[in-house]
Amino acid sequence: MKKKGVKGTNWVLTVILLICCLTVFFPLYMTVIIAFKQPSEMTNNVAGALAFPSSWSFSNFAEAMEVTDFWHSLGNSLLITVIAIAGAIILHSIGGYAIGRNMTKKKGYRWIYYYIVSGMFVPFAILMMPLVKQTAQLGIANRAGVILLYIVFYMPINIMLYTGYLKNIPLAMEEAAEIDGATTWVAFKKVIFPMMKPMHATVAVLTALGTWNDVMTPLVIMSGTGQTTLPLAQLNFQTQFGTNYNLAFASYLLALIPILIFYVVCQKQIIGGIANGAVKG
């Protein structure tokens, strides 16, 4: 990047964006006060519902952590999400690269692209039962199976993103490396993979988004293993005939923090990505 931008801070835009934040802050405010209230403070009265809780005690949070076996569930959720993201970044960037670099010239790769991308339109409900059976037969009706399934579920979206991103990375980049004697694999590993960093961050965020809150996959695949994830444990707060919103909201707020931190970290990776340096090269 050269010098500072032409203009300084755009204050008007900043203010507009801050005002629009209210659409997020209002629901969030309600979530927070409900998380601090006791069930006996719940009411259908608007003023009462928006009022502060009678005390700002963290007892709901403590109880929610106990009910969900928080550290154990969090550990499982983290384990599943992190490995799924790592697997997705490695496998999908490789696949996306192979497809992206060949699909304009070779029909086969173009078909593979359409084949995989079309997979994202398969309703999960139809896959569910066969997958339950299949994972059981393979002996992976557990966390490993859930991770594997996530890697496959997010393959269409991620491959689409990677191939899309490649269009903005000139072929010259790896050709230069290949002239220097690098093989295709090395050129990918040393040149392209690092250049795709902003897309890795995007893929990481999207994959994390999908996996972190997902109930269905672990519910049907992992049931009976004694393992649980945060969203599974959070089902404890609701039954058909009663929901403890106060504990549930406290628990959801706790579960929100790790992924929010992760997102902010990833955002730093997306900003100031390749293109500024790359195209000049």
């Binding site: 300084g8 192979a98 497809i99 079309s118 339109f121 896959l127 039962m129 093989t183 929010l260 500024n276």
Partner: protein, 293 residues
């Protein structure tokens, strides 16, 4: 035809890269899809024994009013939603990539809707629609606000749409943001020097560079909105008067909870074919646009 040339080293590497991807995908997506599709020719309940019923399920699909209504609702919802989501998230992404203060904070805030769990979204927005908006409507004497829109079979879909867009915009914004990062700063600066105003810069320089991301986002948001499920579960459960039953909701509710696994498998197969067709058309259109620009 020419004789097959020996594969170059490069081609072999590419092949080696793609094979594991395809194998995994086939094993855990295509294979179960085929197995599921086979059930669409049965009256399988999801367990126990079943009979083959030929094409009965498919014939029924076209005479089932509920299925028909779910397609109408879903498409109405997806078309309106795709437009809204893309316009909003593109605007948001450009805003969040401009020279503004509190950038990280703002990006964090606009991401939150997407990670709020269904229970929270359901409770909070039901409360807003059921109590807060009608109270505001009464206080300000605005007639149409005085009844919960979630309780009105004509407008409930709009309530679901508002929440759906509110949640979905975050994801598409992320993709637009990463797309904007690929637009070199020089292009802007060149535009500025030419004296191009902001709209022209956007129209002539930024948008063409963003086209691949526009097409990705169009496909993704269409897909996500067509498969709307979470918002239905948390806000309306298909009501009022069955006016917001989406296709995915029907497939899940009757296929998994109810005993219609075979019939809903047929519905899922049909739905799959429909969305793939739409997406191919969409991709063809946007890729033509990409080339033109």
């Amino acid at each position: 035809m020419k004789t097959k040339k020996a594969m170059s080293h490069k081609d072999k590497t590419f092949l080696a890269m793609i094979i594991p991807v395809v194998v995994l995908f086939f094993a855990f997506n295509t294979l179960p899809l085929i197995k599921g599709a086979i059930y669409s020719f049965t009256n399988y309940r999801g367990y126990g024994s079943y009979d083959w019923v030929g094409f009965r399920n498919y014939i029924d699909l076209f005479t089932d009013i509920r299925v028909g209504n779910s397609y109408l609702f879903t498409f109405k919802y997806a078309i309106a939603g795709t437009i809204l989501v893309n316009v909003l998230s593109l605007m948001l992404a450009i805003g969040l990539c401009s020279k503004i203060r509190c950038k990280s904070f703002l990006r964090g805030v606009y991401f939150v809707p997407n990670i709020l769990g269904g229970l929270i979204v359901g409770y909070i927005f039901s409360f807003i629609f059921t109590y807060i908006l009608p109270a505001a409507g009464e206080a300000l004497n605005i007639g149409f606000l005085q009844n919960s829109i979630l309780a009105d079979e004509r407008y409930a879909w709009i309530g679901v749409l508002i929440v759906g867009v509110w949640q979905a915009a975050a994801m598409n914004t992320i993709i637009y943001i990463s797309g904007i990062q690929t637009v070199p700063a020089d292009i802007y600066e060149a535009g500025m020097i030419d004296g191009a105003n902001a709209w022209q810069t956007f129209r002539k320089l930024t948008l063409p560079m963003l086209m691949p991301f526009v097409s990705i986002n169009l496909v993704l948001s269409t897909k996500n909105l067509l498969m709307v499920f979470d918002q239905i579960m948390s806000l309306t459960k298909g009501g009022p008067a069955q006016s917001t039953e989406s296709i995915s909701y029907l497939i899940y509710k009757n296929g998994m909870d109810g005993g219609q696994f075979g019939f809903q498998s047929a519905n899922a197969v049909l739905f799959f074919v429909v969305i793939v067709t739409i997406s191919i058309i969409q991709m063809k259109l946007t890729s033509r646009k990409e080339e033109q620009l």
